[in-house]
Structure formats: structure tokens, C-alpha cells
Amino acid sequence: MTGMTLAAAIPPIPAPHIEYLQLSPMLAVFGAALVGVLAEAFVPRRHRYTAQIGIALAGLAASFGLILYLAVDGYATNKADLAAMGAVAVDGPSLFLQGVITLVAVVAVLQFAERRLEPRSSTGASVDAFAPEAAAVPGSDAERRAATSGHATTEVYPLTMFAVGGMLLFPAASDLLTMFVALEVFSLPLYLICALARRRRLLSQEAAVKYFLLGAFSSAFFLFGLALVYGYAGSVQLSRIADVVEGRATITPALAQTTGNDVLLLIGLAMLGVGLLFKVGAVPFHMWTPDVYQGAPTPVTGFMASATKVAAFGAMLRLLYVAFPGLSWDWRPVLWGVAILTMVAGAIIAVTQTDVKRLLAYSSVAHAGFILTGVIALDRSGLGAVMFYLAAYSFVTLGAFAVVTLVRDADGEATHLSRWAGLGRRSPLLAAVFALFLLAFAGIPLTSGFTGKFAVFQAASGSGGTALVIVGVLSSAVAAFFYIRVIVLMFFSDPRADGPTVAVPSPLTGAAIGLGAVVTVVLGVAPEYFLHLANQASLFVR
């Protein structure tokens, strides 16, 4: 270690010590993904659908059970570990967010499995929302043949499982390299499944390419930032970076030339920030959101909009709260600006949208801004508030996109807003549930959206962000306008004669919507237990 006899003094590399139990929630999901791949190869086609759903749900259930076990074992409250040689943190925020992600994934898998919405193919087989032959050129004969054949593929399930595994790892990663690997593990499958829409293939593929290109850029930013921060701190460990930032660490002589160079640190942090802000869809890195949300198959959009946001905000929280709290004077003003821009731009651009999926996309941008106000608080209440908000938001989002899948006409989903006119007269129940989700997005009291908004604004206000809260409240008013416009359209406009019909879903989508509605109401009316849970879990291990 002295550096003099470098070649002779290389110590034997110790075998890494892996804490399998603490890592088991992720291992269960990755295991399910691998089994899914094998099932895709070896299980006969007619059994694959059942097998894949079974494998996916079993993996997620096992993962959730293990998360609960770890939480009951005290990991969320009175103990925490850095597992796998300090690469993965097993602490309150990890477990809470992992729990949310697995539950979201269960709901998403239920929606992926829906096969009653698309009309039966000519062979009489019922099909789902995914392309029968993703590789076929849009508009080609091969594609038409595949569409009429009644084939339905199931590769979406193992892909989703890989994505979920990466998402579970992302907020738990406690070094930058693991974080980057997790980012790629969950992003790549998402790029793929965005391209799998059965209808409007071109739009779907365009969305996927756009998402992939921009995502690759943002990953590159993240990687570059990682390298610069490594140059500054001589380590990729978040806690070690924090030590160097705060001047507590002894500096490795080999890196003495770069260590402590603030230029590297600031540029590096900015680039890491770009990578993460891209994933959460904050302005000005939000451009991909509307196109991808619109083009991707709607169940996938719902999954992406909720789970990705949870994972990315989790990682952002860990990065900022564990590695860079000492630098808060530098990053907080920037995030202030980003949060204000995100809230205002998201809310205002959403007003002009005419497509329900794009509307929800811009609404998700505005919500990213609201969540950022909680991130900026940089204290325990902010952390708890953001985690609660993420949990509340993801179920509303899942439910809302599930409703979108049900409003259909001959061309598939009728997403143009004008087609939704008078929906409240045709199917009052569905319209009422969608109105509930919109009201939750708008943050009306007694819905989960309100509790979440109150929590983050209260945290922001408690840490000197009064101006942020005022901007947040005003953009909420703007946002309320377009949510309410949709409600007006559904309830007070006359239905169109050629309007869309509301498909009767199988219990799978029904369960997804019902669960979303129940969570929305429960977190709005009786949030005590869940706020308590989030607050209790809001301590990072270093």
C-alpha cells in the first residue's frame, strides 16, 4: 500500500463476501427473469403465457415477502447493512422503495397479461397489447401475417423482470458503479418493451428509438460524471465520496494529483445529476416523456411512469443525501431552478395537450417537479415525504393508464381527448374512477395525491423553501385546470355518436384499477400508518 514496491505488494484479492439473505429480494426477481428466459426457450408455446405469468408473479411475490421479512427483522428501523462489499445498501429507504416497486410490478404484470381487450384474431385466439412479431417491419407482409395469425408472444415478462430487478437495485446501490449497472439493467429492457405495441407499430418503434438514443446519452453523462467524481474522490463508494467532500478522508497518494479538485467534483456531480434528472423526466431533460409515453404500449407506459420514477428518485435521493450533502450549497440552487422549471413547464404545456397519454406524460413531468421540492429539503422529513409521494403517485398512475387501455374504438385505444367526450354518461363508473385518479393528480384533499403533496411541500417549507412551495401551489392550480377539463369533458359533454366503447376487462385489469383506486382513497383518508412507515424508513445507511 505504500506504493514503493507496487508489484510485489499486491495483496491477495479477497473473495467478496456476499450477504445472500439481504440481497434476496433482488435475487428472487433476477432468478424469476432467468427462469423466464428458460421458459421462453423450452416451454411449449401454448403453455408459455400461463407459465410466464406464474413465474413473474411468483418471483415478485417472493421478493415482496423477503422485503417484508427483512423489514420485520428490523432492517427498516433499527439496523442497516452495506451488503456485497459495500455495493448495496440494505436500509429503510431501500426496502421501502423496493416494496413499492415490487407491488407496482405486480399490478403491471396483471395488466400485461390482459387478453380480453384486443378483438380476437381470425384464428380465434385472444391476444394482448404486445406485438406478435416485434422484428417485423411496420406495414410489411410479415407483420400482417403475424397479426392475423393470432400469435401472442411472452418475452415481455422476462424483460420486465430484468427491468424490475434493475429498479430494485438502483435505489439500493451504494456505490456509483453499481448504480450505473443498475441503471443499464433496468433501462435496456424498458427500451425494448416500449417497441412492442401491437397497434401503431411505427409510433411505438419511434418511441423506443427516441427513448434509447436519449437514454444512452444520459447514461453516457452519468458514466462520465462517475469517472470525474472518481477522479475527485478516489472512490466510487458514496460514503467515501462524502468523506472526501467533507474533508474527513485521508487521500490516496496515487490519486493525490486529482483528489480534491473541485472542478472534477462539480462537473462530475452535474453530469450524474443530468443522468438522473433524465430518468425522472425533469425539465429540461423531459423531452422524451410525451413521445415515449404516447408510443409505448399503454400497460408499459403505466409501468414505466410509476416504477422508473420510484427507482430514479430513490437513486437520486441516495446520491444527494449520502454522497453529496456537504455540497448542498452547490446543488440545491440548481435543483431549485430545475424544480421550478419542471413544475411550471409541466403544468403549462399540459394545458395544450389533446391526447390523453401525452397529457398524463406532461402531468408526470409536473409531478417530478413536486417531488423535487421534497428532495431539496435534504432532511429526514423530506426523505419520508418523497418516499410517500412516490408510493402514492405510482398507484394513481398505474390506475389512470389502466383506465386508458379500456376506452377503445376500432383502431385500438381512443386516446384523443375529444373521443372521451361524454364518457361519464356512457359508463359512469369508469369515468368516476378516472375522475378520482385525476383529482388525486390534482391534489384534492382526501386523495393520496393531496397527502403526498402536503408532505413534500411541508418538508420544503420546513427547510426554507417557501418560494418553492408557492410556485408549487400555483402550478398545482394550473395543473388542476387541465385535469378538471378532462372531467368536464367526460361528464358535461354530449357523447359522440361514433364515440369509443368501454371494453369490459378481465379481472386482471379490473384488479389493477381497483387496487389503484383503493390505494388512492386509503392514502388520502387514512395515511397515518403509511406516513409512519415512510418516516420510520427514512434513514440512509452510510
Partner: protein, 534 residues
């Protein structure tokens, strides 16, 4: 543990709303009437409970009575705390009285469409209408009971949703351009109030970061014994945040513009619900939250608010004189009256505030009487334009007579309820701000103008073509009007029971603010009235 009467009083209409909404759609006249009688029974039950609350209330007892306290979201210091003071009791009673009348008056406003073959259109429109009214009632009652700032805020905001559907979903004009007008009015109502509510939310959050509790009693106690102190900047900002929301709701000029649209497009019953019941939450909240939580800021801003309310009195009255549409005329008259109520509140004298609190009740009853009769008239011809009517008193004398009595109450004729309160408000204002008192008095003159001119144009003179068939009030309509007019007479001749209930809470509020009435000074020939009408 004592019986949670306040929770039950709010829960009964809520349960009624759910049950009503769940009733099957009507298929014949019998099931149609059942769908309307059930909600009516629930509203009558609520009235009974409101009477029980009033009977159990001891005017000289504790500040808040029949209190209930349960933890709700302890992480944010939020509790489910209920309790009523004199003002709360009176307003709950007002709500309990008015809602059954509103329902009866709106009896046919949401009837299912019956086609030529006698088949009922199968939908839940009727149930929806009455369920929404019950939902509004439940939320208003709990807002009058809440002693937790956050609990109040939640229902203050949540009541927008059923109100919005009542305005936007039901009305006398249903098709084409008219329906668009109505949906515009509903959206305007919602956006104005939501914006007010969101500004208040910012202030609610700000309040929490200073107090770390939302319990009104503990905050006011801490303020009084000095263990809690707002910086004057913080207090002013928080006061303005709360006041903005209440001023939109009340409504105070210049935040009033949603009211004429909303009342103009809503059915007469819903319009009464807006102005006589829901808007009272705004003035109630000024007294309960603005004055008690931010006494210093209230004194600082009182002159500015008084000027706005006097502008509102004159502006509302002037615009009422010029209206062509009966419902919009009533709406502008209401804006003028809300000016009087807010004037009484922020004059910060005991007469002024007693007057304002009585005025809330009297305005509710008198507007209900006047507007519901006007609604009966409008339902006969399907027009809201004043110019379509004339000489109605010849063909429908009872209708014309009750309309006149309601109007006379609106213009504060002595002997009818509003006179007492308007007099008290003016006396209370005059004590401290003589100039404003004098200007506000002009509002009374203008009130006489718009009420009597409306009466003259619609009721007197030769019968206008098309008015010959206007029938007189039917039994159901008489059941609505007669008790309201009787109530106006009682309140005008013998307001003591109501005054006795509200006066102790007025004195408590003022003493909490460290505010006492200006000493009466006797010079030259003038003497100031003290405690008139009590």
C-alpha cells in the same frame, strides 16, 4: 365518552348521500318519488340533529362544546377535532333548516326524462342530484364543526367537488350553447375556489412549520399565553393566505366574479345552496380562523378589507340594479350583502360582529325565500329574463305576495330578520369608522331600488303576453315558502334567541384579540347606541 353528536350530525347526510346514490334508477313515478323522499328524510334527520346540537349548547359554557378529539395524521399534527361555538351552532342550524327546503324547491329539477310511451330514461340523474346536495350538506356541517385547521381545510376544499357537479351537471338549460355556458360557470367556480384553496394550502403549510400543530385551541392558547409568537411578516403573510381563500369563497369584491356565473347557471335550489349555505363557510372561517389565529394581522389589514367590503356593497347593489336576468340580479345582491357581513366582521366591534353573525343567518333565510319564489316563477315560464314577465300579481297573487315579502327582507325592512343585523353592522362600523358606515348605508338605498324595481317590472302593471298562464303557488311550493317567511318574521321581531347564542362567542373572539369597543362618547347632541337589539 359522551355521545359524538357532532360527528353523527355530519355523518348522517354523508350516509344519506351514499345510500341515495345507490338507489336503483326510477322506472315509474313511484320509484321516482322514492328516490327523492329518501334524501329528503335524511335532510330532515340532519335538521333534527342540528336542533339537538342547538338544544345541548350552553351559550355561557365553554368556548367549544360537545368536543371530540381523535388523532388522525399525527405525523403532521393533524387531528380530527370537532367542537362548536355559538356561531357554529347557529350556522349548523341554518344549514339544517335550508337544505330540506332546497330539496323540496328542487323537487322536479332533476326528474328523469319520460318519453312519449311513458318509459323512464334509465339513469341515476335524480339520485345523483339529491345525493350531491346531501354530500355538500355533510361537508358544510363538518366545516362548521372543525376545530382543527387542517380538518377544516380538507372539507373546505372537498366541498368544491359536489358543488361543481351540482352547478355543471344540472340546470334549467341543457342543450348546446347554454350547456357550454353552464360548464363554463362550473369550471370558473371550481378554478376560482381551487386557486383560493391552494393559496390557503401554502399558508396552512406555513402555519404548520411555525406551530407544529393544527389544533385551533392549542394554537390560540399558546398565542394568548405568549408561548407562541408569529413574526409580523409571517403573521401577515399567513393571514393573507387564509383570507384570500375565504374572500374568494365569501365572496369579497374583487374576487366575486365567479358568483354571478355560478348562480346564474345553476338551478334556483343550487343557487340558494351556494349563496345561503356554502358561501357562509367563507365568512364563518374569517371569524374562526383569520381573527383568532392572526389577531395582529387582522387589525393591520382590517381597514383595507373594510374598504373592499364597502366597495362590494355598492358595486354589488349597483350591478344588481342593472341586471336583466333575475338569478344574476340575486347574485349581485348577495355580493352586496356579503360586503355587509365582512364589514361587520372586520369592524372589530361587538355590535358589528354580532350583526355579521346574525346577518349570515338572515341573509341565508331571506335569500332562500326570495330566490326560491323567483325560481318557482321562472319554472313556470322557463325564462330568466326580467323583461319576459309583467303583471304576475294579477294571475298569481300568492306568488307575487311572497316574492314581495322575500324582497322586503332583502332590502332590510324593519320587522323582518335582515333589518336587525344590518342595523347592528352599521352601528358597529360607525363606532369605529364613521365615514365607511355612512357610505355603506347607501347600499340600503340601492337595495330598495333593485328589489322594488324588480317587483314592479315583473309583478305589477298589465299582464304581459305569455304571463296569463302563470299559475299560483302549489302546495309543495307553499310548504317551502311559508316557513321561511315565518322564520324571517320571527327573526325580525324577536332575534334574542339567536343573538343570545352568538353573542358570547363574539365577545370571546374579540377579547382573544385584545380588542374592545371604542368607549362611547357623548358630545353635543349625538349618542351612540350600545348593544342595540341584544
Amino acid at each position: 365518552m359522551s355521545f359524538p353528536i357532532l360527528t353523527v350530525a355530519a355523518a348522517l347526510p354523508a350516509v344519506g348521500a351514499v345510500l341515495t346514490a345507490a338507489l336503483p334508477p326510477a322506472t315509474n313515478t313511484r320509484s321516482r318519488d322514492r328516490n327523492k323522499v329518501v334524501p329528503l328524510l335524511f335532510s330532515l334527520g340532519t335538521l333534527v340533529l342540528a336542533c339537538v346540537v342547538a338544544a345541548r349548547f350552553q351559550p355561557h359554557g365553554a368556548r367549544y362544546q360537545m368536543t371530540e378529539h381523535h388523532s388522525w395524521i399525527p405525523q403532521f399534527g393533524i387531528s380530527y377535532s370537532l367542537g362548536v361555538d355559538g356561531l357554529g351552532v347557529v350556522l349548523i342550524l341554518l344549514t339544517g333548516v335550508l337544505v330540506p327546503f332546497v330539496m323540496l324547491a328542487s323537487w322536479h329539477d332533476a326528474d328523469p326524462v319520460v318519453d312519449d310511451s311513458g318509459t323512464f330514461e334509465r339513469n341515476r340523474r335524480t339520485q345523483g342530484f339529491f345525493a350531491l346536495i346531501l354530500a355538500v350538506e355533510a361537508m358544510v356541517v363538518i366545516a362548521f364543526e372543525a376545530t382543527d385547521v387542517f380538518l377544516f381545510y380538507v372539507f373546505f376544499e372537498a366541498m368544491l367537488i359536489p358543488m361543481y357537479f351540482l352547478i355543471g351537471g344540472f340546470g334549467d338549460r341543457t342543450k348546446g350553447e347554454d350547456a357550454r355556458q353552464r360548464s363554463y360557470a362550473a369550471v370558473k367556480f371550481l378554478l376560482y375556489n381551487l386557486l383560493g384553496g391552494l393559496v390557503m394550502l401554502a399558508a396552512v403549510i406555513g402555519l404548520y412549520t411555525i406551530t407544529h400543530t393544527f389544533d385551533l385551541v392549542s394554537i390560540t392558547t399558546a398565542l394568548q399565553n405568549g408561548s407562541l409568537h408569529f413574526s409580523s411578516t409571517a403573521e401577515n403573510a399567513l393571514f393573507l393566505g387564509f383570507m384570500f381563500a375565504f374572500a374568494v369563497k365569501a365572496p369579497l369584491w374583487p374576487l366575486h366574479t365567479w358568483l354571478p356565473n355560478a348562480m346564474g347557471e345553476a338551478t334556483p335550489g343550487v343557487a340558494v345552496l351556494i349563496t345561503a349555505v356554502v358561501d357562509k363557510v367563507g365568512t364563518f372561517a374569517m371569524l374562526r380562523f383569520c381573527l383568532q389565529l392572526f389577531p395582529q394581522a387582522s387589525k393591520t389589514f382590517a381597514p383595507a378589507i373594510l374598504v373592499l367590503s364597502v366597495i362590494g356593497i355598492l358595486y354589488g347593489a349597483l350591478l344588481a340594479v342593472g341586471q336583466k336576468d333575475i338569478k344574476r340580479l340575486v347574485a349581485y345582491a348577495s355580493i352586496s350583502h356579503f360586503g355587509f357581513i365582512i364589514l361587520g366582521i372586520f369592524a372589530l366591534t361587538s355590535q358589528g360582529q354580532s350583526g355579521a353573525e346574525l346577518y349570515m343567518v338572515n341573509h341565508g333565510v331571506s335569500t332562500a325565500a326570495w330566490l326560491l319564489v323567483a325560481g318557482f316563477l321562472m319554472s313556470r315560464r322557463g325564462s330568466r329574463l326580467i323583461s319576459d314577465y309583467g303583471g304576475v300579481q294579477k294571475v298569481a297573487p300568492v306568488l307575487a305576495g311572497t316574492f314581495l315579502v322575500g324582497g322586503l327582507a332583502i332590502l332590510s325592512l324593519p320587522g323582518l330578520g335582515p333589518f336587525v343585523s344590518e342595523f347592528l353592522v352599521l352601528v358597529g362600523t360607525f363606532e369605529r369608522y364613521p365615514a365607511l358606515g355612512i357610505v355603506a348605508t347607501a347600499g340600503i338605498v340601492l337595495a330598495a331600488l333593485y328589489v322594488l324595481v324588480l317587483y314592479q317590472r315583473t309583478m305589477t302593471g298589465p299582464v304581459k303576453p305569455g304571463n296569463e298562464g302563470v299559475g299560483d303557488l302549489k302546495a309543495r311550493e307553499l310548504v317551502v315558502v311559508a316557513p321561511l317567511i315565518a322564520l324571517l318574521l320571527v327573526l325580525g321581531v324577536y332575534p334574542k334567541p339567536v343573538a343570545d347564542i352568538v353573542n358570547p362567542s363574539v365577545n370571546q373572539t374579540l377579547s382573544q384579540m385584545g380588542q374592545s369597543d371604542p368607549a362611547p362618547h357623548i358630545n353635543a347632541a349625538t349618542t351612540t347606541t350600545t348593544g342595540g337589539g341584544q
